[in-house]
Amino acid sequence: MNAELVSELDAPRQRTARARFVTALGPLTALAGAIWAIVQPYRITLLHPHGQGFWWLFVEPPLLVIVVGLFFYFAIVPGLLADMEEDRATSR
């Protein structure tokens, strides 16, 4: 029975769980925005634009949530995952 083998196996599994969590953050945020848009469609003024002013057409809260989720997923997560992998490789 070698306790070292167990600790060696645990560390990468924990990192993978963290990577999965970070990867899921963006899509979950975008999903929350999409669900919000479906539940309260009247909050997307673009669906009924007639007679609306600039700000009512420009600022659409559910769409903003989706944009934040997608921005986080495509702009921030890829580099972060690469750095996590690099950090894991150097700590081995």
Binding site: R18, T29, R43, V59, P61, G79, D83
Partner: protein, 194 residues
């Protein structure tokens, strides 16, 4: 071209949501990994500083009352100060974890300003209720940076800090003019707005 107050809240909510996601990711992956790229290290302090800068136009153009102007001005100052301190910490110009007290002060002042400048105790009205909810939440959340002074590497404190900003974002997104929040408890709530 001046946006309605609720739209300003929604735009700030978007900034706070991005801030919260970044802080949550940093709490999960660890500060060392998060700061491996310079732009990522400066993202959170830069956003905090930027939100402080954008508070000045809010103070200038939304002059409902003197207390509104004072509250928004105080917010702008403390957000910019806290952002600047975080920038200096990331840059390595200052090192002591006690500089986190600047963020604790920022949250305490922000919470107090939220409570003070919402003078209506109309809890049936959405924006009034949310100001009180946000005020007390932010005031209590000022404890989190205090904990981070004592335990800078605490993952629980880092996660709580991130979730505070996500909660602020959700609350700000809920802000809608004079819409009722608890149904038509009072006739003063008026007709429901979208």
């Amino acid at each position: 071209m001046q946006p309605p107050a609720e739209h300003v809240h929604w735009l700030f909510a978007t900034g706070f949501l991005l801030l919260g996601l970044c802080l949550l990711a940093e709490a999960v992956v660890g500060t060392e990994v998060w700061r491996q790229r310079a732009w990522r290290a400066y993202l959170w302090p830069g956003l905090a500083f930027g939100l402080g800068v954008f508070m000045w136009p809010v103070m200038t153009f939304f002059t409902n009352s003197t207390i509104h102007m004072i509250a928004h001005g105080a917010w702008a100052e403390v957000l910019m100060a806290a952002g600047a301190v975080e920038l200096a910490l990331v840059r390595g110009k200052i090192h002591s974890p006690w500089w986190q007290l600047a963020m604790a002060a920022a949250l305490a002042v922000s919470g107090s300003a939220l409570l003070v400048h919402e003078q209506n105790a109309w809890f049936f009205q959405r924006s009034s209720f949310l100001h009180h909810l946000l005020g007390w939440t932010v005031l209590v959340a000022a404890v989190v940076p205090l904990v981070r002074c004592v335990r800078p590497r605490s993952q629980v404190a880092a996660t709580a800090f991130a979730l505070t900003f996500i909660f602020i974002a959700v609350s700000l997104y809920c802000d809608r003019d004079v819409a009722p929040v608890f149904g038509h408890i009072s006739p003063l709530a008026g007709p429901p707005h979208r």
